[in-house]
């Protein structure tokens, strides 16, 4: 929720349009057996104070007429959710960091991190050696190896997620869509392409697509949006994220000179901005913000 509150102001804060569209999120129900599950979910989330409600088939049709009405029984609707352009979000933060005085080294792999005598850290990136009081490991699927280097093994597993994008289309809908059971999500980008993903994420460190997963995703989205059958797909791709056993990130101190923030388990885009903000506060004050306390590495002691 804290994260959601952050997004609307980000384009201004970063000085770059991150193409944030806040038009709500619909989790679509396609078979009756899941309608009850969804109702229960909604009840639970409402108890937590979240603005979610049930939409019946007619409500969904009114809200998103592009969807095939026959395929949908209803949806769980959260009006505050949105979607962004992940590239612009990342570039925006990068540029803002540079403006704020951060140095950068792109295209260099960190192969060694050592603790220095004075209590700081020394990072080896290609031919460069960088000394710092604190190093933050936020290397996605590359974090496991770096934490290992620091002598702190974490139960992180690489998972490959896949998605596709179509050629640009006239505006169809502004909302973000998901399904229950999970397996498909989609949105229309500012550029006009319908971006969709899902399938099962595959446990592997290589970021490439698998024909079977692409077919699965295509089968699912064309049931909900039959008009897409004749639309060209421009690109399919895979990306690897670090997953934890409980699907929650690890944000903790590894040593005197190192913090870690990783294991976003497929949700790092939504969580990245807020986590970054609290990490910065932690670095500034030297005190771990309470909000981050559930994400300690200690919770995995038994798993190792």
């Amino acid at each position: 929720m804290a994260s959601v509150a952050l997004f609307p102001g980000l384009s201004d804060e970063l000085g770059l349009d991150i193409e944030y569209t806040q038009a709500g999120n619909l989790r679509l129900i396609e078979s009756p057996e899941y309608a009850q599950t969804m109702q229960t979910d909604i009840g639970r989330q409402q108890d937590l104070g979240l603005d979610v409600r049930w939409l019946n088939a007619d409500d969904v049709a009114a809200m998103a007429p592009a969807l095939a009405p026959a395929a949908i029984l209803g949806a769980g609707y959260c009006p505050t959710d949105g979607h962004v352009n992940p590239f612009r979000l990342t570039v925006g933060y990068f540029q803002a960091a540079r403006r704020a005085g951060a140095d950068s080294l792109i295209g260099r792999e960190v192969r060694a991190i050592t603790q220095t005598d004075g209590g700081g850290a020394m990072v080896q990136a290609g031919p460069h050696t960088i000394r710092a009081a604190t190093v933050v490991i936020a290397a996605g699927a590359g974090s496991a190896a770096l934490c290992q280097l620091m002598g702190v093994p974490l139960p992180l597993t690489p998972f490959c997620h896949q998605s596709m994008i179509t050629e640009p289309l006239p505006p169809l809908f502004a909302q973000m869509f998901g399904t229950l059971p999970a397996g498909l999500y989609f949105r229309q980008t500012t550029h006009g392409g319908v971006h969709f993903g899902g399938g099962d994420s595959i446990r592997r460190a290589e970021a490439h697509t698998t024909p079977q997963t692409l077919r699965y995703m295509t089968g699912r989205i064309t049931r909900l949006l039959p008009m897409l059958r004749g639309v060209n797909v421009l690109r399919a791709w895979g990306g690897v994220d670090a997953h934890t056993p409980d699907g929650m990130p690890v944000i903790d101190r590894l040593s005197e000179a190192a913090l870690v923030a990783t294991g976003f388990s497929g949700h790092g885009l939504a969580l990245g901005p807020i986590v970054g903000r609290y990490l910065a506060r932690w670095l500034e004050t030297g005190r771990k913000p309470a909000l981050l306390s559930p994400f300690g590495a200690g919770r995995f002691k038994a798993a190792l």
């Binding site: 792109i106 077919r215 089968g219 064309t222 639309v231 060209n232 797909v233 399919a236």
Partner: protein, 467 residues
């Protein structure tokens, strides 16, 4: 499981298919064009027209001799069929008249050819500015002239070859602007002494252009194309050894067509998708698939032949295709009696020559200064040189980083056209070698296909995921 699948029915792919079929193997040969022949024998599958200019007639004869082999009963040719994805386990995804289809190959031969390189300058996106290959295609395919008053610009022997063809067909060649100074070509000409026939051919072309009064300007580059809605003029200027335009007079030419060719780049999209290893060198035309002596790539059972291995011309493509056809047939359990030695030698000899040509006629980094900040580089997404330079100033050094940063290479062509240009731009701005920019990661589909192409083909696709 198909015994052997050959992707690409150019000289390399056809030679591979025929050789393997004659050894007894069953071959499926696939091309996105309706007819086999590839770049060089584009129209040879059709009956030769009654009257053809002499250079085209010779091309037809050679092509027909090669394509005759495709009538072998073991060969299935599937035209109009795009291979839009290949995986390391040799699964090939097709989009063609038979609908979407996925084939598995025991042996896979990739002979996908090359594409032409161009360099940007103000006005290069005007209608009427095209590639030399595009103009040749009109000529060979539809007997059409791309224009009446043509400037050919770029670098390499193809400019003069095409100049003669267009001249024979009745066009006026206003000028040929060859990037390399004549002196540097002559200084390096001893490298071609062993290839007397080729040198003779080149001199012959030069003589014919001279007789027709075509000015061939060595050490010149096109610096600008002008016109309202289509090209009506072009400006050429002398360039220095690094490719920077020299101060001094420019020549403005009245033209209705500009044909560009700055050499070729191997089309490695399929070998990249298949996970094959690649290497970079100017003499290959850039990034090319690595193979062993048997044309097998780093992925077992996947072969690469012809231009995909590096720009080598027809005379490398044919023996390499035969070699791969033989080896793939043998791996499928068929005996072949042809000895590989002479075939290998022929391929090496042809490659040695073209490799030299590729280095003599290399693109020069200084040409990148021609692109003004408002000159488009990525045409699909309309990204300008200025936007790209700004990103590079922020520390971007690779194509793969430039893509999400700027959207360059994200459009319909997936960076096929702008990729080599962006590598030059990165090199020019950062001072790094062009190869350090890397290659764009290739994403399926290699060309846009309707989503219906990816629909589940059987129940397996469902079961695996509905959990």
């Amino acid at each position: 499981m198909t015994e052997i699948i050959v992707i690409g029915a150019g000289p390399a792919g056809v030679a591979a298919a025929v050789t393997a079929a004659e050894a007894g193997a069953r071959v499926t040969l696939i091309d996105e064009n309706s007819l086999p022949g590839g770049q060089y024998f584009k129209q040879a599958a059709l009956p030769a027209p009654a009257s053809l200019p002499p250079t085209l007639a010779e091309n037809f004869r050679q092509g027909q001799a090669l394509l005759a082999g495709l009538s072998h009963k073991n060969i299935t040719f599937r035209g109009n069929t795009l291979v839009w994805n290949v995986t390391p386990d040799r699964t090939v995804s097709l989009y063609g008249p038979a609908g979407p289809e996925t084939l598995a190959a025991a042996q896979l031969i990739i002979a996908a050819g090359a594409y032409e390189r161009v360099m940007p300058f103000p006005g290069w996106t005007l209608p009427g500015v095209m590639t030399v290959g595009g103009a040749q295609l009109l000529l060979k395919g539809q007997r059409l002239l791309a224009g009446q008053r043509i400037l050919l610009a770029g670098t390499g022997p193809l400019l003069q070859v095409a100049g003669v063809q267009l001249l024979e067909a009745g066009a006026e060649i206003v000028a040929i602007a060859e990037l390399q100074p004549l002196g540097s070509i002559i200084a390096r000409s001893p490298r071609f002494l062993g290839h007397r026939d080729k040198v003779k051919l080149a001199l012959n072309n030069a003589r014919r252009l001279k007789r027709a009064g075509v000015p061939v300007k060595f050490g010149y580059a096109i610096v600008r194309a002008t016109g309202e809605n289509e090209v009506s003029g072009a400006v050429i200027a002398r360039v220095d050894a690094a490719g920077h335009p020299r101060p001094g007079p420019e020549s403005a030419l009245a033209v209705d067509t500009v044909c560009l060719n700055f050499g070729f780049a191997p089309d490695t999209r399929l070998t990249q998708l298949a996970g094959c290893k690649h290497h970079f060198a100017e003499r290959f035309g850039g990034w090319a698939a690595i193979t062993d002596d048997n044309m097998e790539t780093s992925q077992p059972g996947i072969f690469a032949v012809g231009e995909v291995r590096g720009i080598g011309g027809v005379e490398a493509a044919l023996p390499e295709g035969r070699l791969a056809g033989q080896v793939a047939a043998r791996k499928s359990g068929y005996r072949t009696d042809e000895s590989a030695g002479p075939t290998r030698r022929a391929a090496r000899r042809a490659r040695a020559l073209v490799g030299q040509l590729n280095t003599v006629f290399a693109v020069k980094p200084g040409l990148m200064t021609l692109a003004q900040d408002d000159t488009l580089i990525c045409r699909c997404e309309e990204i300008s040189a200025g936007q790209l330079r700004a990103a590079i100033r922020e520390g971007i050094t690779t194509l793969n980083n430039l893509k999400p940063w700027t959207r360059a290479g994200m459009g319909r062509c997936q960076g096929r056209i702008c990729g080599p240009i962006l590598a030059h731009l990165l090199a020019a701005e950062t001072g790094l070698e062009a190869q350090s920019a890397g290659q764009f990661t290739v994403r399926p589909p290699v060309k846009p296909v309707p989503l219906s192409t990816l629909l589940p083909q059987n129940n397996n696709d469902e079961v695996a995921h509905d959990k």
